[in-house]
Symmetry: D3
Subunit: 317 residues, 6 copies
């Protein structure tokens, strides 16, 4: 069990706690002896570490990317905090609470998933019904889909974030779809539900949220297309044209090449999916950013990526 | 009354009809005599014209930018159609139906306006209620607001288009606003209603839709800010902070400098307004483009500005 | 059999010849009668056509996208040539020579393919050998791979162009791979051979070269990844890491998002594939452009896409 | 009165001095007790501070954005200087010299202003004369106009900078206007004088130079247009066309959308205003940068925003 | 001597006049016989031509890029005018007035040159005085410098345009240089005089203004650097540092890589040269564009490159 | 002789070693006394230094940009290492090994140069043979050419790097030139050999690699053109057209204006040179980056300029 989080650590503290061993690299001193450089993380941040003694045995007993129990003392080195680690060993799976190491959605995952399934059941086209039966019946898929984050940073970057983002978009789509005639509700809703499924493999999120090898090399868009193709193969006589339009919604949902979509949206449903995705990502991203800081200040700090401060205003209306 | 529209004219036709005299320039032949080059338009397009005889009297009796009755014969010159005009004179106001010369919304303008006013009445903040009373009580404003287009091309580029676009966005805003906690409904709705009011002066739309001098020189964003400032001045003790947030929504609704907004959205309501505006403009733009062409074709022609064909698909679900 | 090509047609000609009926749309005259607007193409260009008589029977007997035998007379209308079509009917498959309608590589397709297979046989990694056995053993694949173009315009835009481009790159890769230590020859060569396989479905090329529905909606990169995934599934215990690196080479071979690759090259072999692809595309594109025009002129005409004239120089050395 | 400036402070110093309390945020220690994080600034830079004792009373007696008298000791924490503050209280207005906290023009403000007024009096068009009478007769305006900076960084970023920049441009305009025939001197000069007036509200500059709420939300261009509109309203029968051209010069003076102007310059005077503004901003920006560093070095340090070193050269001619 | 200019030619005219034979390419008819395609130009535009008879002898007696006397008849072909040429032969040098074929400055070339030389004589640094003595003493240089255009399109695109542009900038520099302390007048003026000298070789302008081979391959910036280096070599002990700063002004005068300068301005004089060049090019470009059209219209036509209409306004002040 | 390299220095070390004195600036303490701020570098990095005592004599005896022998003690100041220097004096030329201060190619410089000369001797065009005789016969040129780096960072940023890069490209060109018909081997090879010769003056590389004044002000492209022009002047009747094409290859080898080439490649040989240069720079840049880090890690650290991690993979084939 975790006692102290990294954001609370101060120079001079004595530590005895769990962390993810994010990086571990061997180096050698001028006298030829070896030492270990570490990066330790939990859900509040990261801190550097160093091992001077028992280097061989400590290194051979710990794997990077796993949770370790660390004992040590906190000092400063070249302007940043550094833990001088005395002991470090692997923590048994059973003693780990992933929520210590990764942020988790504040909403109920099972209830969100039930609501999403219910929305998918309002789809009337039979082959699309079959498609969602195939997805929801795939336990390995569902298990990962319920836990995956929607991003590493920016918005919904927490366990359950993908589900939360997908559900939010599905509810929006449901509200909006009737507003414009000529939009196929079943196609739009299916596209919303599936547009980001590739993210369950794009990220790893066992004890910390990061890109997986497949995520960095192949990207969630191409992963998603393959996942949909695989499920469609299992459904007899799934219409070719419908399969293309579904994959197209995955391919084009970022809106343009510059934003990572090899093709721009070319159907009215793909245009709408792109709009709903942008709306949910942007608004949620700004809300998360504004919520992180003192709500009493009129202006937030500077948002580096978006290039601006945000304004909370005086309580207005 | 109009008989034939420009899109139907063929070489060899004899014409006797009303057109907008969009351009009229004097030129001279090698023998020193003068002639007139014309551009005639109606709601379906434009055609070139030339006057060889009675140049002086015809020119002195007609003003460009007005509706004229033309008699002439249609030929070809250098690969385009050209009307050799025999007679041309001004048409009295009473004989003009503006709908012959500019496209008009297919929806009922008065009913749209009533619905918009009703939505504005759901606002609870008293100074904002006062603000809309000021706008709706200004008959010159209302008269122009009900007729203005939302654009010269692209989307809602017709009489009543601004009202249709604003109403569509207001309904969307009303549906969506409850989806995200922490968004001020009164502020969002007010921003939606006012974000494009500057367009009533940015365009001229008496007999053809074009930019006005003020539109080209000052732009609907700066015009809108002045219009709001003027109305706010008429309301006793309108809160300074609320005035800034309203103007900010007008200033930032295009989303970025590249798209014409001097400042990007910095409040959650401004971010949301920008999303709703983009959604309505894009979807309506694509729908209008797809509707213009043969619905039996799977693909539309190439959309030059958006750089793609759009796909209608086989009837899917 | 074809007699005259479109580039040779002049106003006043009488036509009796085969063309691809690229477009056929019904329109109606002011008197309410119908007529057909056509676009006819062959490998040298396109020409407009119109059918005034027997509209119903001619339209019902012909399908757009197919080869038709046309009888008619050539005139001018609004500055372009136009065929007034008297008769038009479908041409039996047996009487069609695709080379009349699409440009074809000047090199021997079978010999190119043998050389490509031979290069693939120099690969030593056994699972990659298995992969190419799977591809070359798929007759439907090979048949399309030997005919597909590499592009619609720009470079290798002809039947056999994909094979010619792939072979040229494979020979280059073979020459260069030893120049830099640390590059895996088997991986590089496999990536070269497979990087564009998705193009066999991205284009249609029965009687004219154009994008297919799948090409426009899904794009050759995502198609290629699916094709490779499908073949890999058929090979027992294909290493996961190798599969990712192969797909990554397909995903990243355009080099950047702006150029259509969702991920940039992240392995040394992917960087090299991108360089070889750019080199072959650019040099061949420039060579084709320079070859199209009078070799006696020092400067070519202006290349619109590349934004420059090219210089042939005086015969120098 | 100030003794020591922040740029001179060293670890180990004991401080008793005035600073602007730029930021003040409450935080709590692991033991639950509160402390204050501060940022203190003066005209030479900023330094962090922390209050461990008497947190409640110190916090309640000081407001951020105001000048405070600080007693404390300077140490280092995580690689930067930090003042451990023992006492901190507000400084009475009378004891504050703003020049301690913000940089101030080296030139005489009153003399610059007289020269500017004299230039405005050389304008001959009567309604423009009236306009400047209205501005110069507005004491609140004049008082702020004489103190406002022209920027937060980059160039003329000091008290009096707006006046200095405007005067410099007016003198340049006066020199150049006769060089090109067809330029209206009165219009150009009026545009130069008014182009940046919105900056008197875009910035706050009581004890430190920063953006105001209105500056961040509405931007000096839209503020300036409103200020000019307000003054024009007070002048009977100010010509509509002239008002548009004046506002257009304000709207377009940054030259393009990317640089913040909703419309590009569309009159010859607006084009010229844009050129003169760029020339004065760039040259003055480079001169200020070159002057900040050791004039004996041939090369300046790297200018991050402009992406280059500047060269002073050996004394040449 | 020329009678008629191309802008005045109409279908049906009989021609007997001088033109520049800009292009001449041999083609063959279906019957195997040859014909010539021509492009004829004069200072008002260009027109297509065709030679059906005496093709061999006409072709062998005429060179493209030279002035020819043409006899023929004007018709239309595919929507553009076309001269059917009966006779065409070279015009002796003596019978050619270059001003018929290229636009020429409206100002007195010799008087402009004298004024420029006088300005150069106000330079006090002796080695720079020597440099200008070397340039002005080079008769081949002076002869070309007095005739060269400053551009092919956009601004000063006429014989004498380079001289006019350089003189205008030199006068501006002279007016402005004292406005900013710390600017070396001799260096600034020398940079202004020499910044575009490479254009005397970048363009050809014997009978029509076009890029030369050297212009297209090497570019006026690199040509100018070579010309200056060559003259500097002829001056004993020209200071190395001064030579670098002069060349730097040539290299950097376009301001950025995107605009064609390999290095951005890095001295205060280079920054100033860039500003003066932009000011003169932009203002003169806009003035020429506005002067080309009917001064009675409030708005010009659309300026394609600058992306806007320009406003002349009602006569204001 | 050097003992310790900067990358190995730790707080607490006592130093007695050689460094390049990269920067030396005088400052003064609050008490009015002077001290020196230093930057010391060697081939592994840089470290800050300060001199408190004997400031005058130490400063007068040492020049920045030269190698000095330093005695001092290493501490930390504001989060970085700092040497408190007790003694510092110039090192005689004879005691300096440049390889201590700058990275050096791992390959044999003389053998590389011989191979390059041999390749140049395979050129058959006599005037090009003469040109290379002129270059190789210029001892000052050869001496600098063999030592110059190809860059300050990124790729081949070490002594001998220019030669290594040029040779690598020449070998590639030799392999590839026969692959495309119509490419002039002599021209391509000459362009490859000369494309970067300007770098011998763009950089200074006596004791550390940095840009020279000429490099920053004039740039290697314009320097290279001047060097080639100078050598060509020495060869009787060198063909003008060939000279232009050679210079064009230097001018255009970066491929586009954005990348620093004033003109894009306009000959087939220039296109090919640009491709070969990009290939060698990119692949070598990635290889150097991947080699710098632990080869046991699957992913490299983040490459800031290229915006990605690189993947080494599991040993694959």
């Amino acid at each position: 069990m975790k006692n102290t989080f990294i954001s609370q650590i101060r120079a001079g503290d004595t530590l005895s706690d769990q962390f993810v061993l994010s990086e571990k690299t061997m180096a050698h001193k001028k006298d030829g002896n070896h030492y270990l450089n570490l990066v330790l993380t939990d859900r509040t941040g990261s801190i550097k570490g160093v091992v001077w003694d028992n280097v061989g045995s400590i290194s051979s007993q710990t794997d990077s990317g796993r949770v370790v129990a660390v004992q040590g003392h906190v000092g400063e080195y070249r302007g940043t905090l550094q833990v001088v680690v005395k002991e470090m060993k692997m923590v048994p799976e059973a003693d780990i609470d992933p929520a210590d190491f990764m942020p988790v959605t504040e909403r109920n995952i099972d209830r969100m998933f039930q609501r999403l399934v219910a929305l998918s059941e309002s789809i009337e086209t039979s082959c699309l019904k079959d498609l969602f039966s195939a997805f929801w019946g795939d336990h390995a898929f569902v298990s990962r889909f319920k836990r995956a984050p929607a991003a590493k940073k920016m918005h919904h970057a927490y366990i359950g974030g993908l589900l939360e983002h997908t559900l939010s978009m599905a509810i929006l789509a449901d509200k909006i779809v009737g507003h414009y005639s000529g939009v196929d509700r079943d196609l739009l809703l299916s596209g919303v539900l599936l547009h980001d499924v590739g993210k369950i493999r794009e990220f790893s999120y066992d004890v910390r949220i990061d890109y997986s090898d497949e995520g960095r090399l192949v990207n969630h868009i191409a992963i998603g297309v393959q996942m949909i193709e695989e499920k469609i193969q299992s459904i007899p006589s799934f219409p070719e044209d419908l399969a293309l339009m579904l994959k197209h919604m995955v391919i084009s949902h970022h809106g343009s090449r510059e934003l990572g979509s090899p093709e721009p949206p070319k159907t009215i449903e793909a245009v709408m999916l792109n709009c709903i995705d942008e709306m949910d990502s942007r608004i949620q991203g700004v809300r998360e950013f504004m919520a992180k800081e003192d709500p009493g200040e009129m202006w937030t700090s500077f948002h580096r990526l978006l290039g601006r401060h945000f304004y909370r205003g005086q309580s207005v209306t």
